[in-house]
Symmetry: C2
Subunit: 207 residues, 2 copies
Amino acid sequence: MKHIAESTVRRLSRYLRFLEGEEELGAETISSDDLATLGGTTSAQVRKDLSFFGSFGTRGRGYSVPALARRIREILGLEREWRVVIVGAGRVGAALAQYRGFRERRFNVVAAYDADPARIGTSLNGIVVRDQRTLDADLQALNPGIVLIAVPPEAAQPIVDRVARAGVRGILNFAPTALRVPDGVVVRSVDMALELEILAYALTAAK
Amino acid sequence: MKHIAESTVRRLSRYLRFLEGEEELGAETISSDDLATLGGTTSAQVRKDLSFFGSFGTRGRGYSVPALARRIREILGLEREWRVVIVGAGRVGAALAQYRGFRERRFNVVAAYDADPARIGTSLNGIVVRDQRTLDADLQALNPGIVLIAVPPEAAQPIVDRVARAGVRGILNFAPTALRVPDGVVVRSVDMALELEILAYALTAAK
DNA sequence: CTAATCTTGTGAAATGATTCACAAGCCCCG
DNA sequence: CGGGGCTTGTGAATCATTTCACAAGATTAG
């Protein structure tokens, strides 16, 4: 398939949120214009985004809410459950381990790791923090689709190397550092300080 | 000034990280090519990014590390201190309140708020959680440049309305919901589940 | 001082993303 | 069953971003 822009995927994911909201309210159909209003974009953009994957609407009516929701879930790969392992059980790791938004989307945190003896053995919402030294061996059995990195920046790269070597292909990194990975492994980074800096720029420049 | 793309600002912020690293190592100059390698982009991109703001390099030599770092800090608005207020002292809010990366970049968390009586009065790393009902009055005195939203999604919009009414112009939202704000107020959202979904798509589509 | 070597800064070209605009299809009403 | 009113799907046009390519300035070696 043709390459799809990240901006498109990001919007699809947002459309899905709104569709699920509408679904609960019992809406049967929705127009590209309604979706656009909810998502802060334009109806042409909505239709273009969807058109990359086929045509699911009915002219004159709009889209079937449940059918479109199902189709977007399928496109995004959200019909399956995702097993997620968290490395780093500090405050950020702990918050992630217990984050409600993940469970709701069927991202299941199956284990958490830390290197600090004081944290090993403690429980995060039913998940017992394990010793990071057992990570490599455990990954075989746990077989997670995605690993979340929530360790200090200087510890991140070695963890990523180990995780990639164990065959994990998806990494979501919360450490504020650039990461190198082998081909075939996908990393995304969430850098909270960087987001604040972009905001600072917007506030500073808007004069 | 001409409008600058967000992608450019994001890269500037990353360049700054590398520059600070190089600065500590005692490097005096750096070429666009070195910066590109560190940041995973191209030298032409680096030079183009910088060129929007002036020309700081020396042909044949490269850029002075400390001078460029200073200039980027100035561009991004990081020379000043930013006062930050956090609303929502659950696990995410608590993690943010104590996040080391913010302090390092001179984003100072000056207060945290919550609506839950069980949390009010507890201390997060020296910051005592206050009652959300006093938020509006307190904002006058605190006068934060930025407010972080870390409340449940359904509570976010009312908080944003209150915060915007109090004159705050920058909001960083961690609640997984779209927010409306008046003109002149800048919102950015960090949606952790959405990042996981984009990752899920990348893993699903790459076949 | 000259020549060879670097590396910047920047128009121009190429590529990518969004918006426009409209034909085509579907629904509903009479 | 025909006409009016919606709304999709999609090429074409526009707008934005990245990459290319090279002249010009600076440094270094001889």
